[in-house]
């Protein structure tokens, strides 16, 4: 339990709830109720039923043979790309929509980068008949057009965020402003393990189903629930936290978190937060973020909209600072190449976000026979345009 949140809402030096008073009643209501609601037997039953029948869980743990051959290790892919709506994001939105209902909320808001979280939120709102407003950066609206169309078809209102770099950070600002202006009937479904306490913990709990299943599947497939390595990409860090969750206390399992280096960590166009960042406060928690010496947040860059964020969740900051996790980064080009490689070796087109995790396999050295799990957080349908342009297909 040493990597989990404490009663004050902190992970070591990171976390807390740095929010203006306007958000306090909502966040406090969540804080007081989230564990009670989630632990309730009825809630668990409904959550797991939906995970099974609606999302299609458990997601397979697939031993990728040709990839394994290439790297000389047993590469297992945790297939979150096969979930309904195409990414891990739905695990969290199902959990939060049930929770929002228990709190009597009538209106749902969310931010989205790649559009996966927006689609997953619009989906559960359609499912439960709740009003849905999604904030999305103007740049992302352009580069993730298919997801914008899906959200609209699902009945959500998509509001462009036009401030700053017009990406995920700015969409998050706009969602927080909406919540400030709608303090009573609205629940904000944050899409990653960021935000004020209890969000990072709550989202991690919902995503922890990834590692819970992985352990059982590994046991069945390899005779041990302890792999040598677990890899995942990190935007805010929710698929990675879900993938790490039940391995955090197994100190012999190496956790590798892959950030987006963009055009290179020193290029000025990067989202490699732990490499470029310093401790500070963004979006309600104390964590590590990319910022100027005067504490202004620096605009990130990544070819992948879901990783284009200048911070990471506070629990990641803690895993990084304590050395429990290894934080590395992969460039735009390396990730796109890895995406094509997986497509051609295994017949799976990954989201560019997930391709960052895959790309790191190229940089690892294996003795042979190690068991490696990579979280394939999402599928690449939304990214076809980017792939096609890059590879001139």
């Amino acid at each position: 339990m040493k990597y989990k949140v404490n009663e004050k809402g902190y992970y070591g030096d990171f976390g807390g709830a740095y929010i203006p008073e306007m958000l306090y009643p909502n966040v406090e209501e969540l804080r007081q109720n989230y564990l009670r609601i989630i632990d309730d037997a009825g809630f668990q039953k409904e959550f797991h039923q939906l995970m099974k029948d609606y999302v299609g869980r458990p997601s397979p743990l697939y031993l990728a043979n040709r990839l394994s051959e290439r790297y000389g290790a047993n590469i297992f892919l945790k297939r979150e790309d096969l979930n309904h709506t195409g990414a891990h994001k739905i695990n969290n939105t199902i959990g939060q929509i049930l929770l929002a209902e228990k709190l009597g909320k009538k209106r749902i808001i969310a931010e989205t980068g790649a559009g996966q979280h927006g689609v997953a939120t619009a989906t559960v709102c359609a499912l439960r008949n709740l009003e849905c407003v999604i904030y999305m950066g103007e740049v992302d609206i352009e580069r993730q057009a298919p997801n914008v169309a899906r959200m609209k078809m699902l009945g959500a209102k998509v509001v462009p965020a036009s401030s700053g770099s017009k990406t995920l950070k700015d969409a998050t600002n706009e969602a927080m402003r909406d919540w400030i202006n709608n303090p009573v009937d609205t629940h904000y479904i944050i899409g990653s393990v960021v935000g004020p306490h209890p969000y990072p913990d709550m989202v991690a709990i919902f995503q922890s189903i990834i590692s819970e299943e992985t352990k059982k599947q590994l046991m069945a497939q390899t005779g041990s629930d302890q792999p040598d390595y677990v890899l995942a990409c990190v935007g805010g860090g929710s698929n990675a936290m879900g993938m790490f969750y039940h391995f955090m206390d197994d100190e012999n399992v190496k956790l590798i978190a892959v950030e987006a280096a963009g055009k290179g960590v020193s290029s000025g166009f990067s989202a490699a937060t732990t490499y470029l960042g310093k401790e500070g406060v963004l979006h309600g928690s104390r964590s590590i973020l990319m910022q100027t010496p005067d504490g202004q947040v620096v605009e990130p860059h990544s070819v992948s909209a879901g990783l284009d964020y200048p911070g990471i969740g506070p629990q990641h900051a803690h895993l990084f600072k304590t050395g429990r996790g290894k934080y590395v980064s992969i460039t735009d080009e390396e990730s796109l190449d890895a995406g094509l490689l997986l497509t051609q070796l295994e017949g799976i087109i990954p989201a560019i976000e997930s391709a960052h995790a895959l790309a790191y396999l190229e940089k690892m050295e294996f003795k042979g026979g190690e068991n490696v799990v990579v979280c394939l957080s999402g599928r690449g349908d939304k990214d076809l345009d980017t792939y096609i342009k890059y590879f001139k297909l």
Partner: protein
């Protein structure tokens, strides 16, 4: 006794003006303060800009962005305020988000405030528990008041806790909103203002967010010790001669 306490002890219907440091031009910070005092403002809140001001509406977002783009930062602001007290006598607070303060260093920040003659701070995203644990001692050592916000949704118990923790005034938001929304004093707002008035808090109260003209100002003053104007003022000084636009704006409230 600090300037804030003195002001509230001696005056009613206090008019406090918020503006963003370094806006419209980097060098305007002091000139605006002087012009405001000259034309009758009772207190000033100088905003130090932040890249991600989540509690602010479009007008203050835009002024913050422009100010940052033109090079404003806390170090420069304190340099500009170096001789503040040679020309400005009314209370001055700094208002902004916590991350720039953290990077500047809390101790350094408090010291710099005290050196230039700043009387207090408003840091909306600094939570009460953090303030109590890590900031309060330093603030008090430098004789700085820390002002907290309350909204119609703030529970009574919490209001009393805030009242116990602060020593300047309490900032009453007319509704839970980002800055720049217009104040509509309907029955529920009136009930809320009256409820707060009847709590007999030890600190005076100022109503803010959405005050834009004489009428809304007078209304606010009937429930509190005064009111704060931000967005409307920032809008009024976005071009032209500073001194003229300030005195023009202030005339509306002094008639």
């Amino acid at each position: 006794m600090n300037r804030i306490k003195q002001l509230f002890a001696s005056k009613k219907n206090i008019l406090s003006i918020y503006y963003t440091a370094g806006y419209p031009n980097t060098g305007d910070t002091i000139q605006i303060a002087e012009a405001l005092e000259k034309s009758g403002a009772d207190m000033l809140e100088i905003g130090f800009p932040y890249s991600d001001p989540v509690a602010d509406g479009p007008v203050i977002q835009a002024s913050s962005k422009k100010s940052l783009d033109q090079g404003m930062n806390l170090k420069l602001l304190f340099e500009q305020l170096k001789d503040l007290r040679t020309s400005v006598t009314i209370p001055v607070l700094l208002m902004g988000y916590v991350n720039p303060v953290l990077q500047f260093g809390v101790e350094n920040f408090c010291k710099a405030c005290a050196e230039v003659g700043v009387d207090g701070c408003i840091v909306p995203d600094l939570p009460m528990v953090e303030y109590e644990e890590f900031y309060k001692e330093c603030f008090e050592e430098h004789n700085l008041s820390n002002v907290f916000l309350i909204t119609p949704q703030t529970a009574e118990e919490r209001i009393h806790k805030i009242d116990g923790l602060t020593n300047g005034f309490i900032y009453l938001l007319s509704s839970s909103a980002t800055t720049g929304k217009n104040l509509e004093v309907g029955n529920t707002t009136e009930a809320y203002f009256s409820r707060i008035k009847n709590l007999n808090l030890k600190n005076p109260t100022m109503i803010g967010f959405g005050i834009s003209d004489k009428q809304t100002f007078d209304k606010a003053c009937s429930y509190a010790n005064g009111a704060i104007i931000g967005t409307a003022f920032v809008k009024a000084i976005d071009n032209g001669n500073i001194e003229e636009s300030v005195s023009e704006f202030m005339k509306k409230f002094k008639s």
